[in-house]
Symmetry: D2
């Protein structure tokens, strides 16, 4: 499982650098307005009924760290009050024994957020906690709303003061305005207003709640501890780590309430066909997880098998994954086609977050700090690469160049999903349409831009076959491949803003 998000992160650097941060009345940071909406992938975790709920959450977040490396936090309740700790950074940096000891309670939720270079916002760290009169509630969100700008404007007009640039805060304000109905009813009222992708963990002083939007874009599963108690997690790898037994997924459209009386479900929406994010399978989820009722490792191996079937005539001296993203598809491919598998690029595990700027003459060093091709292996060879996906293509281009320098004679590439031609409004941080190379380039143009001898993508049919589904009736969201958006934008402004995402354009972000 590789370190995630470099390609995506790089993509955003340019626009983000224009925009300093906004941290409202929080402390210790330069504050400024005008931050564009961010579309982050995140990981969520919840515990009910375990005496050491915070420590359990800590380990759960550790397992979900690949879903977000920017910030993390845990909110815990002992039945009488919620306390929380959150910070920028990785889970193992945010918490220590002393902090975890101080987070006493039997109900907890935890959250990790995606890492973005440079422009992180401390006030965006979750879970968000609200102390509202005698009510306390905490919430952690994975996904992205499509009517966030509209709702924020409406709430601000009514006097709400927003503290973050996260759409998650909209849940908090809507809840606060409906609390007189009781927390459950307030939650139902809140969900009626929001549209888009959301898997939520939420807690009050004595209740754990899991929510999945009606489309079920993002995963969320339920497990049971051996000694009693329940956990919620984005992926089953977190259940594995805390030795919880998987029970079932929280269903699309379900509000699952866990308290002293056990489990209760509310389904406030009419049933609709699900649209699971298939890119969770292709890239985001950990290979040792099961999500949407399938094992990710086996799914990815099938992607490789189908790549082999769709490309029977490909020839090369050796096959290699780009470390480590195409590992499992490459294995699947190698079990079908007998091109020998090698690991011809060595990854440096000691790479830090910040780089020393190389002087002009050292410009190339930066790539090799992280990944160095094995010259002895690659020299004069024709190489077949298996890559999981190509977003902008810039990183891939640089890497291909370093393989050429190491002596590779021919370089062919197979990509284990179809071309990304449409941006995602549901929580995966694909750049705007303009930044997706496949949105504006043919496969041949992409091949030439990257510098490959050949380039082939898996077909949508192949992708669905790997998922065990058929084209006509499948439960997946394929919008990033085919532009078929399961949840529409509420108005034209929102749609434009999304498609051409220009954060400085009036009306296009949560701040304007």
């Amino acid at each position: 499982m590789k370190s995630r998000g470099n390609r995506f992160r790089k993509d955003r650097t340019v626009t983000e650098n224009k925009l300093p941060e906004c941290d409202d009345f929080a402390t210790g940071r330069i504050l400024t307005p005008y931050i564009p909406t961010k579309k982050e992938e995140c990981g969520i975790f919840g515990v009910f009924g375990h005496e050491d709920a915070a420590k359990l959450s800590y380990f759960g977040l550790y397992a979900l760290q690949h879903r977000g490396q920017e910030s993390g936090g845990i909110a815990v309740s002992d039945g009488s009050r919620i306390i929380a700790h959150k910070s920028m950074g990785l889970v193992h940096d945010i918490f220590n024994e002393e902090i975890l000891q101080s987070l006493k309670g039997y109900v907890a939720i935890g959250h990790v957020r995606y890492s973005t270079t440079g422009s992180s916002l401390a006030s965006n760290a979750q879970p968000f906690v609200v102390f509202h009169g005698n009510n306390h509630y905490a919430i952690g969100h994975n996904g992205n709303l499509v009517n966030a700008v509209e709702l924020r404007r409406e709430l601000e007009r009514k006097g709400a003061i927003f503290r973050s640039t996260m759409d998650t805060e909209i849940f908090m304000h809507l809840l606060a305005r409906n609390l007189s109905y009781g927390i459950e009813e307030a939650l139902v009222e809140t969900l009626k207003r929001v549209q888009g992708a959301y898997s939520l963990v939420m807690s009050t002083k004595d209740t754990l709640i899991g929510v999945r939007d009606p489309n079920g874009f993002r995963p969320l599963c339920l497990g049971e501890m051996e000694g009693g108690g329940y956990v919620l997690a984005s992926e089953t790898c977190a259940l594995d780590l805390v030795e919880a037994t998987y029970i079932r997924d929280v269903e699309p459209g379900e509000i699952l309430i866990i308290d002293e009386d056990g489990l209760r479900s509310i389904f406030p929406f009419p049933k609709k066909p699900p649209s699971y994010c298939i890119f969770e399978f292709i890239y985001f989820a950990r290979p040792d997880s099961n999500i949407f009722n399938q094992n990710v490792y086996m799914f990815r191996k099938r992607l490789g098998t189908l790549l082999a079937k769709e490309n029977p005539s490909v020839h090369a001296d050796l096959l290699m994954p780009f470390p480590d993203s195409g590992n499992y598809a490459a294995i699947g491919f190698a079990h079908t086609n007998n091109i020998p598998l090698e690991m011809g690029v060595i990854r440096n595990h000691y790479v830090g977050r910040t780089f020393i700027q190389p002087s002009q003459a050292m410009r190339q060093f930066q790539v090799k700090v992280k990944l160095n091709p094995v010259r002895g292996l690659l020299k004069d060879k024709s190489v077949l690469l298996v890559e999981d996906s190509i977003i902008r293509g810039t990183t891939t281009k640089t890497r291909i160049n370093s393989l050429r320098q190491a002596g590779a004679k021919e370089i062919h590439m197979l990509v284990s999903c179809p071309p990304h031609r449409f941006p995602c409004p549901y929580g995966i941080d694909f750049s705007t349409k303009g930044e997706l190379i496949a949105a504006s380039h043919t496969v041949a143009e992409t091949r030439d831009y990257i510098g490959l001898d050949s380039l082939n993508y898996l077909s949508i049919e192949g992708l669905l076959e790997a998922a065990g589904a058929v084209s006509s009736d499948h439960p997946f969201c394929l919008a990033c491949f085919n532009g078929d958006y399961p949840v529409q934008f509420v108005d034209e402004v929102g749609k434009h803003c999304f498609e051409d995402r220009d954060p400085m354009r009036p009306g296009c972000n949560l701040r304007a």
Copy 2:
């Protein structure tokens, strides 16, 4: 000028330690609800029309550091947006060259907050900044509201989410709900709702505003820069430092608006007699400042002169201030009565914020780390001490004990103000009534508790005479001495909570 607030700080240690902190959705701290209202003294500063407004504010806050050592911050605008930086700590720790360089603009406000031991709240650091749709505003507050609990409850019922435990946040929410009227009208509407003590500096993208409550409890003055531009400051010592010329005080009840068109004033309230906090003169303000149109140093010298007149028969081998609090009154006394002035207690300037816990046998060391009596001077002498005030009496008792150990034969004390018998709801952190020694002890009992041979306070008449005022018609708030509160509590609950300030008592704090 001595380090402020130790006596007051100690007083609160007990109750505060019960209460962990609350930091809402901000990051990096353990969060928890139930913090009592705090009544802090603070310092505020504002700049309009200077190209280096943030750096000017930095120096202004440096001069006002004695008014608050817990946290500080600066918000600055270049006309198009507000950015801010704030943090826990002292001004010289919070800012560095790089941060100040990044705070570009010509309008700025700054704030420092009182230091309290242990239970500081990062989310309470000011200025508070709000980005509300297209409106940005920042606010810094010195003083304390008496109807904060009531207003907070009302606002929460309407769906407001509070982030801090500061009554200052009430201004922000009231403003947000009236913004449709424009910022000035919204401010007038806001001021109509709040009651108590408030000197405010406020900024929008292109305006600086100074406000003083109708009673004028806290000081606020206006100065002009030589090269153009205006500054607002709690005390004139800040004008001295930035080389601004003092123009006038912002008047009680005045909203002073400074923008490109110059100065404008709004007086939204009917005129009423002022009630300046006389304890600003006695203790809080810097001796080199002028406040309420008088010089503090000369005022304090007159306190000493009047002490000498009221106590003509006092005899001692030497006279000494308790370092450094009674310095100026002691000088005034020495100019009238010829007891020789000495500085018989040496202060260690290198004392840090935290102490190593002495082992049992070393318990006494802690006092002497800070202040060591000069044995060679004090041995077998009768000593007359001049103290500015006695709040709880515990610190004074400890210090008297160390003078006895150093060999002082007789110890007499003169206090340069009347006994503190009533708590202050207007922004000075006197403990509850129960903790003021003079509220429950006669002068003789206090003398015996502290271990003095004699103890005499200045009379209220003497205090007013030093102020150049007369008893029947004076512009001061003397509530802490005589219980005559210029602004009443709005209801019985508030009054009770204030008087017996028990933070855990339902209804008595901003959280419940």
Copy 3:
């Protein structure tokens, strides 16, 4: 390429915890004597004739980080003086742009040291720099001396004051006592006294020197920069990164002097047969490096090929490396034997240096935080594991247990080297003889201890065949496998101390 040294580190925890650190007159640490000799693997790098020598060294050390994660440093000279910076931590944490900018010069040496848990010594960080009258010299050392204790005692008797617990310091003192002969002669005199393994980089104000001991235990190679200038490096992967062309290895017994006049060599010792550390190939070096004139990746693949040949009858449903240590041998195996290769254990890349202590019930979590088996893949399967080596066996045992929990039915293991039965005195931190499981257990006993269904090691003959050598005449040190030590201990005390390494035993460490 995996994170190194966990197995070795764990081995030492017990004894090290008894021993606080010793940091002589350096600052900021608790100091104390009695540290045992440490035998660390290290990485060294040198530059001559490049205007940005420090930055080049920075990138060189980045590539060599796998050889040492405890501390690092760079010393640089501009021809008139040496300046240096070093610290505990990883290369990317130790240096930043500002520090590198301040390290101006055209001659530099760099060093990284092995990471050991807990008992790190800031004063042991290299390069060591000496300012001795008008002479400046800096030195970085990879290897371990076998007569360090004796030499240190002798030098101390003569009045030398040692500052570190590193045998490297012995070079400094011997050099200082011979400086009147000039630096080159002093170096020759120094080398005459020391015995054991040493690859050195050394610099004076205007010279770079590379040294390899007569046996050539540790690697050291020479490269040339395109624009002129030379680099020295432990491994060629560092040449790759800085885009230097490999010229040749520094030869065993060679003193290679690089200055303005070019390259010069001194061979102060009679030629003797080399004894290259074969464990550099098996485990330590990066797979993309060439050392001792062979490519490491290809060598390891041949280990797998020979494992397959020596174990023709092994059967399993799937083959997998233990991540990531056996990757390349597993690939070599898979190319010979057709058991399908899988990567059935997922590694968490976000694991930090410190773990929260799990409560009793969470004891098992700690293993899974780092490595999680893919249940869906392993359930009811027979698994063949390829491991690079087994030292103590404890870590392997724990991991095997987690595979069993994930449902693996049978577990067989092939180890790509012979059993480690003898400790190494030449710079690889194998535990004492008593801690090597193969020193006291038969293969069958080891298999049962670890919990395997079968266990087979590569033979010494197979190992040599992979190296392209023959048993009777090969250039390798195989002492850790066969006890045949190329350089003997100087006396019986040293030998005993080494074999039973008890750091508290008088006479057995550099401190007693």
Copy 4:
């Protein structure tokens, strides 16, 4: 008691900034050679026979912090080994409860060093600790040797490697070379070689040793704890703090050995007349200390009395000390002459170590950040200032200017010691002769340079009279006033280097 050394510190800034630091093989700092000899004032403390020796030392150093703010450290022994902790910074920053808990033992020595701006050296922090074979010893030094350069060169020729730029290290190397004689004899041999000023505290595993040079330049006193055990301290204020009873001063030329058998003295030198540093009385020591058998506070008051006697005709509206340095002389003056005493400059207690660089227009702010004159008091007044001493005159000039700006009509100054015309080689960091204003300017020229209306110094006779001594036969070193050096320089080079102290000049520092 004021914060020390600003004037002296400033004096050195120029030359020091040329010179980066040298930290030998210690870590975490940029290292470089060529540091000039430093002449620091320091504070030393020692404990024998107290179970909590480290914590006692901590409090002792707290009381001696005014003697050195650059670095501090404590070395402690439990009878079997010495451990130590030291660092840059103030005592309260260097130690915390955990560190002090780890420093277990009944013998301890502590040290604080003078603060110099910017160019501090971590490796210069004391106590120095040596682990030499089985011998451990630690040493802390106050004073300065006059033959340090010569001894260092000799020792380096013999192969010694120096780690610091402190002359203290010379003691360590001389001791190491004589250890075969036993520690006491080695110490005697060491003292025979060194010349100059040294008060030492030293410890072995089970012994505390105090040493004072034959001239007794620097103070050192002995005290006894109530429950048993002895302490050594530079000044009695440290005895006061730890509640030890003063017994006697360590005598000039005495080696005082304290171990389980009690006290023992060695006098290795022939008796000679003492030459106590009189500037300790005038400026350095704390007013609550007794040193050289007199109370400092009373001494300084007598300086004021004698100033009044020597200047009977001085007239002014008010008398004020420059805060806080002339406080006690001003009090002495005021008791004799009836000019009213005022404290007309207010000191800001919150000034940090680093300043934000004011922009050009704000240049004057920097002075006022620290000290602000009280305009209301000074306007149109003639002011008489009492200053303790004038070294370079630059700081005084700046401050006089700010008094002028505040409206003072006439400014007269009395200095409570004679003009400083000669540099000090015995441990007080007076600048070179060229930097002492009185070395090159008449009193009238100095008066005009500073901008005073009149300037008068105390006479040498007055100074001696205040000390209760007579001109013909007194125990003081007056070298800085009259150039009469009690210990001569060993050679012409040393003398020149000292007088014109140019750190870059060959032969003039410990590094060349």
